[in-house]
């Protein structure tokens, strides 16, 4: 009996001791798992972008590209985010929506730009989506929705077009979970404040567009938590900060950008 207890302790101790010794080794770094994850994300981003690029009508005139680049660059450079991490695409679509895809692709619909009252509101939405990218929410959401095995299968040529379409559809129309949305809102305020962009218009955008407008038309809002609730916690957070603001783009450029969103012949200019 005594000998059995001793053996039980030796075996159990051996298991626990081996496990604790092995967990001190940096296996993730040794096998470069983070790099493999990044590669998978990049491949998925390219795959989804290829699909989306074929589906929609992209607005690529020089003014739109320059204006969007100015806003995104301002946010990125102030927050030490490599500019080439974020790839902005503007699509002509009458649904107010913007969403992030793997690999740093950020899609903005023309209706959303049209609906913004000023460039700061648009910067708020961009900062929110950049926050999702920087916080790795996109991959977390995808893995939750479809599973890592399906995603890896897609990147190795196993997924068909229909499956890719479904996943892209889920990315553009389904919400992140409540915690992720809140986290992205808070991070967006950080990004805006650091870039000297007034975050108040972002809260206004949440309130104004969420009030009395059709949810169908405002897909970006319908996929997010209650606008009123968000506006409240965003304003509360802004109230805690001290910041100075500088204009984002010239008023004339902004007006021209909004006009471009309505004009058909500015698409596929370059």
């Amino acid at each position: 009996m005594k000998s059995n207890s001793l053996w039980a302790i030796i075996i159990l101790g051996g298991f626990i001791g081996l496990f604790f010794w092995l967990r001190t080794i940096d296996w993730v770094g040794m096998f470069d798992i983070d790099k493999h994850t990044r590669d998978t994300e990049e491949k998925l981003g390219d795959l989804f972008w290829e699909h989306l690029g074929d589906e929609g009508e992209q607005i690529t005139d020089s003014l739109t590209v320059a204006a969007m680049d100015t806003m995104v660059s301002r946010i990125c450079s102030a927050n030490a985010i490599p500019r080439d991490h974020i790839k902005v695409h503007v699509f002509r679509a009458d649904v107010v929506n913007a969403f992030a895809m793997p690999g740093g692709h950020l899609v903005v619909n023309s209706a959303l730009i049209e609906d913004c009252k000023n460039p700061e509101q648009l910067c708020g939405v961009l900062a929110h989506e950049i926050a999702h990218i920087e916080l790795h929410h996109v991959m977390k959401k995808l893995v939750r929705e479809v599973g890592m095995s399906v995603l890896v299968n897609m990147t190795t040529g196993g997924g068909d077009g229909g499956q890719v379409g479904e996943v892209v559809g889920a990315l553009s129309s389904k919400a992140f979970d409540r915690d992720m949305e809140r986290e992205a809102d808070m991070k967006a305020i950080d990004l805006l404040v650091t870039a000297h962009i007034d975050p108040h218009p972002f809260a206004d955008f949440l309130y104004l567009t969420g009030d009395g407008e059709s949810e169908e038309a405002f897909e970006w809002l319908s996929t997010h938590p209650s606008s009123k609730e968000r506006m409240e916690y965003v304003l509360e957070e802004i109230g805690k900060r001290q910041f100075e603001v500088k204009p984002v783009i010239a008023a004339a450029t902004w007006e021209e950008l909004k006009t471009n969103m309505q004009t058909e012949d500015t698409t596929n200019y370059q």
Binding site: N4, I11, L22, T37
Partner: protein, 142 residues
Amino acid sequence: METLMNAPLDHEMEKASNSYLMSLLALLVGAPLPIINLIATLIFYLGNRRSTYFVRWHCTQALLSQLSVFFLNSYGFWWTVSILFTDVSISNDYIAYMITVGLFNLFEFISTLYTAIEVRKGVHVRWWVIGHLTDLICKPKA
């Protein structure tokens, strides 16, 4: 390791040895699903409940040996499932756990194979700890 008072007959040695081989066979067939090994040895155990003491004893020891790794393997199995299908990511803890469990399984596999061979020869192989538990569960019929 000890020899039973009454030397087992050839068919008893074969049945007792098969109880270990059953778990090895199940391991090859259903490797990713830890429950398969346990079910296979459980079925064999239930089928030999009325057999001789030597056979019953080894079926019980084979079952208990599977049960001991079943919990370790199940935890590893569901951890892997959560990595594949949820947002849990691969960590140093996960890799360390899988290596530890893998080594224990290898040790268990070799021990099972050795026991199957020895029991086929009529040698009464008792495992540490598990042999004692088997004594408590499996008693000779009066």
